[in-house]
């Protein structure tokens, strides 16, 4: 997809309402974020995804745990990292992708509590524990969202305190807890040396 940005001056203040394909430049079949609902660049993010038939193929119509982790990482580490680096370097995401490769560095503990079927929308709620030197570490949770809920409206007045306490309604079902999900933007020339 072509970048909608032609200049860093056009970069938004947050990712809310942004098309994920503008920030997650891989894809489209491995892109597991549909919408950003809340974002504070120094704090964290809320983003949703709804697994498709292709996502659950050959897996009992269930969205795999590793794909949940991938979705969480894309929503938190990659999206927040790309956004903050673009702001820091004053470049558009397309240019950032020419300079750095977003890499998965580490996964801490992950506890699964329930599962997700095709068509069930879930939210990734991630907060940034560490962000420095292009390395970002996030903790968070995945919740199944109530069917038909307007997530943009629901998270419109969300804030840092509620994020840290996972203060959302009881109608959301806890799917997974994720700790120390870590990624790093590695210079392209250094990444190529790893081969």
């Amino acid at each position: 997809m072509r970048s909608k940005f032609t200049s860093p001056d056009e970069l938004p203040d947050t990712l809310v309402g942004e098309p994920p394909e503008q920030w997650l430049l891989h894809g489209p079949t491995k892109r597991y974020v549909d919408n950003y609902h809340w974002h504070h660049p120094k704090v964290g993010i809320v983003a949703s995804y709804t697994p498709t038939a292709q996502n659950v193929e050959d897996h009992f119509d269930i969205f795999r745990g590793v794909d949940q982790i991938e979705s969480f990482a894309q929503a938190s580490v990659v999206s927040c990292g790309a956004f903050s680096e673009c702001k820091k370097l004053n470049v558009i995401p397309e240019r950032l992708a020419e300079l750095f490769v977003p890499t998965f560095i580490s996964i801490g503990n992950v506890n699964f509590h329930s599962y997700l079927e095709k068509g069930q929308t879930f939210v990734n709620i991630g907060f940034i524990k560490f962000y420095k030197w292009r390395q970002i570490v996030c903790d968070g949770r995945i919740y199944r969202a109530p069917k038909g809920l307007d997530l943009d409206a629901y998270f419109k007045d969300f804030d840092e305190q509620r994020l840290m306490k996972y203060d959302i309604g009881k109608e959301f079902v806890l799917i997974a807890e994720l700790f120390d999900i870590t990624g790093r933007g590695i210079k392209k020339e250094m990444f190529e040396k790893l081969l």
């Binding site: 560095i105 580490s106 560490f130 420095k132 030197w133 292009r134 390395q135 120390d180 870590t182 590695i186 210079k187 250094m190």
Partner: protein, 94 residues
């Protein structure tokens, strides 16, 4: 600042890192490798770098961390380089 003084400071930092075995700090030399000799998880190097910044009152740039090796010598060299850069910058702004 002498290299041994930096190594001693580095060892002090390492004593505060949960994943570093204190027994392995008894025989640290410049050739000691954090990853292979001390079994430090690679993700911990970033946390160590953050603590080193505080300890030595320096500020690493992204590129410093990109180029940082995993031996004690590499970290000592980097601290010396960044300290010198900081002093040069102070001199320019004075």
């Amino acid at each position: 600042m002498e290299r041994q003084e930096i190594i001693d400071g580095l060892i002090e930092v390492l004593r505060t890192v949960r994943t570093v075995d204190p027994a392995k700090l008894e025989h640290v030399t410049e050739d000691t490798d954090f990853l292979t000799d001390m079994n430090t998880p690679s993700t911990e190097l970033i946390n160590i770098a953050a603590k080193v910044e505080q300890k030595f009152d320096i500020e690493f740039e992204d590129e410093d961390i990109d180029e940082m090796g995993s031996k004690v010598r590499d970290v000592v060299d980097l601290i010396i380089k960044v300290k010198a850069r900081g002093e040069a910058e102070k001199g320019e702004s004075a």
